[in-house]
Amino acid sequence: MASKKDYPSMDDVGLFKAAQRGDMQAFEELVARHRDKIYARAFSMMRNEEDAIDLSQEAWVKAWQRLKQFQGESSFLTWMTRIVINLCLDQLRKQKRQRSESIEEMEEESGGVERQMPVVTPNPTEKLERTELRARIDRALGQLSYEHRTVLILHEFEELEYKEIAKRMQCSIGTVMSRLFYARRKMAVLMASYRKEELR
């Protein structure tokens, strides 16, 4: 008689290996364990609940189909996050192709308003509740163009190097550097402006 596995007590590696052997229950446990993080990453890039649900779902289906390709070079969550990021980038590229030339693009090429921005330093002594700070950051990220937001997410949250970001975004390292620079400056300005709004 086969012993019943205690999936919740198994670690990711054990679950993953079982899933590689075709154990769907093990895979379901992995989905349950990491679904929020994968959805959150999709949402941070797409800024849309419906797209985020669809793409995170698609990422899990792709992961199941590619389980045998994963050799364990990184953690399972890192591997999954890369899958959802790639799907989001594909989707964003499709959406961009459908749009006519945007103002964001024109701004980016000319350096945009960020070029003339004064240096604004977010006040590090300002004690914000962590939840409030996160909400502000999220609001500011939502105001960036998708190119600026993506490069910030990949660099600051996913901790990818310029070279890796360039590869994923299908652009040059110079473009990554430029986008990251203006994204950071814009974030600093937005964060400072929220503070001013609150003081009024």
């Binding site: 240096v119 590090p124 909400a135 550097m177």
Partner: protein, 170 residues
């Protein structure tokens, strides 16, 4: 400040410069207040972002979300198993193209016939010489008549003594 220096300051912050370039940028930060201010801004913005991503929860229950995934996986797997073998796909693709050409040729011939571009002599008689053929047709332009002879090959009688079959006159 030149854009090149701005990007160098950023690359220095991100640890993307060679040790020689990093030393040069560090020296510049020491002596240039503008470069120092920009470096500080980027450093603080970066520190603010790290580890402060908002937590989000998937707005679907575990069971519902999994059921969607499970359904999609089985749909994809079914699609994979029911797909035709490679040789059938090959035939479908290539023979399909050939039959497309055949249809096009037939349309051209039909069009030519309709426009009287083909001599009526060529259309005097149409018959099918294949053994297994069960029908024969005859067209006479002068009589403006087509005769179709339909035989029943399964009948023993048909082999020995052709059945008169059915005559259709148009």
């Amino acid at each position: 400040m030149k854009e090149e220096l701005q990007l160098d300051l950023q690359a220095y912050l991100d640890g993307e410069l060679s040790s020689k370039d990093a030393r040069e940028v560090a020296a510049r930060i020491e002596i240039d207040p503008e470069a120092r201010a920009l470096h500080t801004q980027m450093q603080q913005t970066s520190a603010l972002l790290k580890g402060n991503e908002v937590d989000r929860r998937l707005p679907q229950t575990r069971e519902f979300f999994w059921s969607q995934i499970e359904r999609q996986i089985s749909r994809e797997e079914q699609r994979g198993t029911t797909s035709a073998p490679w040789w059938l796909e090959f035939l479908r693709r290539h023979v399909g193209a050939v039959s497309g050409v055949g249809v096009a040729a037939a349309l051209v011939i039909l069009g030519a016939v309709q426009l009287n571009l083909v001599s009526s002599d060529l259309l005097e008689e149409i018959d099918n010489p294949l053994d297994e053929t069960t029908s024969f047709s005859f067209r006479s332009e002068s009589q403006k008549m087509t005769v179709v002879w339909i035989a029943n090959p399964s009948s023993k009688k048909a082999e020995d003594e052709p059945d008169p079959g059915e005559e259709i006159v148009q």
